[in-house]
């Protein structure tokens, strides 16, 4: 570790991993509810669990990104973090706000929660992903603004690199688009329109910039390839991401009451969205092929390659499957969407957090050359358990999605089966999905265990 302030990243990483464990456990519980509808009802109904599942995802990724940034920025800027204290305060504020909100979801009926947090004064609640009480949303704004301010000040006072510029662009974008979470319209179409400004422009535009910058940072460190070479790739990926991603918002505007031209804009622009992900694979493998140093932390490189490949599969391939308007007409909101969401969030965003954690945590724990071989072997096992678990889960959901489309969507209304009847027919597939979910969780536990594998002492 070059700068002592990088240490602030550690609690962020640890908390992100704890939240991930919660994320998967809630996911598995819901997957069981798909098989036994009344499992844990009325204590934990499906709608509450789902809300916790998607909210935890966002919060854990934000923790991961923040930890990664606090680790990366001092090294890129070649100076200590502007204010490590602010980063520590931000951490605790975010933890308290996050935990309180999740507890609120779990133990207070949602309608009650809206009253308790005085949603009527400034209504923003009740929308998927943005269920947080307005006060929590304001808290998120405060946390994110102080985080970005801290990072910006560090960059301004130190060295500026392409990686830090792209990371900052992504972060400013993240903050800006979150403001649309405060836009609330009585018109459901207008409401959905702006809702996607947060949801889509986070995950398919600004977060991709963050992903690109984080991946590039790890590759620079582990391969020793010239920055000039990496910068060019990064700019290309980012340009493609922004062009395709911004116009690609249109693929969410199909059949929801918005004008028909979105069918064309959305289909064509989003058909280009897999390209930056594919370039990321070329980028990662090209850098590794031309590497100048052989870093001992091999597992971090495995995670980096995994991010590029699984990110492309989940976001690129599974996204493209249903992004064209005529296809989406049948697939909209089926299990195929769920399949895409699971593999893309895992492949692109959870895996980049793992990449950074696997690269930085050993250094933060006083092992500059990475964990010992035995610990890395354990981590490799966890890598495959999680990756195979998530791909298996995705394939199961894909099969479920296709069957759902066949039975519920393609036949005319006289012959189409009802939603619940279709779900009952898919129970075998849902069992398989749950088992792969459990496999992913076991993978995470093995990952946790890898932290406790002791360095083998060599007898002299």
């Amino acid at each position: 570790m070059k700068y002592s302030s990088q240490m602030v990243a550690k609690p962020y990483f640890i908390f992100a991993l704890i939240l991930l464990a919660g994320e998967i456990l809630f996911g598995i519980t819901m997957s069981i509810q798909y098989i036994y509808g009344d499992f844990l009802f009325p204590m934990l109904p499906f709608n509450v669990l789902r809300m916790v599942h998607v909210n935890l995802l966002i919060v854990l990724l934000l923790f991961g990104f923040m930890g990664a940034t606090y680790y990366l920025i001092p090294e890129e800027a070649e100076r200590e973090l502007w204010s490590p204290l602010l980063a520590k305060i931000t951490f605790w504020v975010f933890v308290v706000a996050g935990v309180l909100t999740i507890l609120g979801y779990l133990f207070v009926p949602y309608a009650e929660l809206t009253k308790l947090t005085m949603n009527d004064l400034w209504p923003t609640m009740g929308r998927e992903f943005l269920e947080q009480p307005t006060i929590t949303k304001l808290g998120i704004v405060l946390v994110v603004v102080s985080y970005i301010f801290n990072v910006t000040m560090t960059v301004i006072k130190g060295r500026t690199t392409t990686i830090s510029i792209i990371l900052l662009t992504g972060l400013f974008g993240l903050a800006f688009f979150f403001l649309f979470a405060f836009e609330f319209s009585d018109n459901m179409i207008t409401d959905k329109f702006f809702w996607w400004f947060v949801v889509h422009l986070w995950v398919e535009a600004t977060w991709e910039l963050i992903l690109g910058a984080l991946l590039a940072f790890v590759l620079v460190k582990l391969t020793g390839v010239d920055r000039e070479h990496i910068d060019k790739w990064l700019y290309l990926i980012i340009a493609m991401t922004l062009i395709a991603g911004l116009a690609g918002t249109g693929h969410h505007f199909f059949y929801i009451g918005l004008p028909g031209y979105w069918l064309w804009i959305g289909s064509i622009a989003s058909a280009a969205e897999p390209i930056p992900f594919f370039l990321m694979i070329l980028f990662a493998y090209n850098m590794i092929k031309n590497r100048r140093i052989q870093d001992d932390n091999k597992i971090a490189l495995t995670w980096a390659k995994g991010t590029a490949v699984v990110g492309f599969l989940g976001a690129g391939v599974w996204g493209f499957m249903h992004t064209l308007a005529p296809v989406d007409y049948y697939t909209h909101g089926t299990q195929l969407t769920a399949a895409h969401a699971h593999l893309s969030f895992f492949g692109a965003y959870v895996m980049i957090c793992f990449t950074l954690i696997s690269y930085a945590m050993p250094i933060l724990r006083g092992r500059p050359h990475g964990n010992c071989a035995k610990a890395q072997k354990v981590e490799l096992t966890s890598f495959w358990l999680m990756v195979i678990g998530m791909i298996g889960l995705t394939l199961a959901l894909t099969v479920a999605g296709v069957m759902q489309i066949e039975m519920q969507r393609i036949p005319d209304s006289a012959h189409a089966m009802a939603f619940m009847d279709v779900q009952a027919k898919l129970s075998t597939i849902y069992i398989i999905r749950s088992l792969f979910g459990v496999m992913t969780f076991v993978g995470l536990l093995v990952y946790f265990y890898s932290f406790f594998v002791k360095e083998e002492r060599v007898a002299i």
Partner: protein
Amino acid sequence: MQSNQVSREPYPPGDFAIWIVIYVELVTFGLLFVGYAFSRKADILTFNNSQLALNKTSGFIDTLILITSSYFIVKAVHAIKSSNLSLQEANHIASKWLLAAIAFGGMFLVNKFLEFSAIFGQGITLSTNKFFMFYLLLTMFHFMHVTLGTVILFNIFKKTKKDGYSKEDHRGLETGAVYWHLVDLLWIVLFPLVYIIR
């Protein structure tokens, strides 16, 4: 044996990255062109009637402007590659050609802006009908490309002012030139397809 030692021009010219951009652009516009063709086939009457509202002369002027500006870019690249000019002379000549190309790019943008004003003045929008949806999507998307291309050319122009390109190293110039030719090529397909063919 001799021929092996002669340094060859790298092929394709310009940076490899720009070719990835070009292929993506060609596929994207290609999809829109195919979409246009199929939609037109389904409703020829609307397409033919709506097409009458377009200003063909303006479109033709646009075509001439872009082809001419592409020629200026070719002259700029030739000047830099020319073996009998000094570095300063070559960059000086190239900068003049580039300035002319930028001016023509600007003319295209102004002319298109006037055309869009006239179209919007008639109350036409993306939702008027399928023909106008394609017309506006294609021409506005292309307009954005010309804008970007002009910015790229301007940056190259600035570099020629610092004698930044040499006979041996002019990759940046060729990269920008290739992009500008793409913008030109797209218009050459777009113009007859949307403005002329009936």
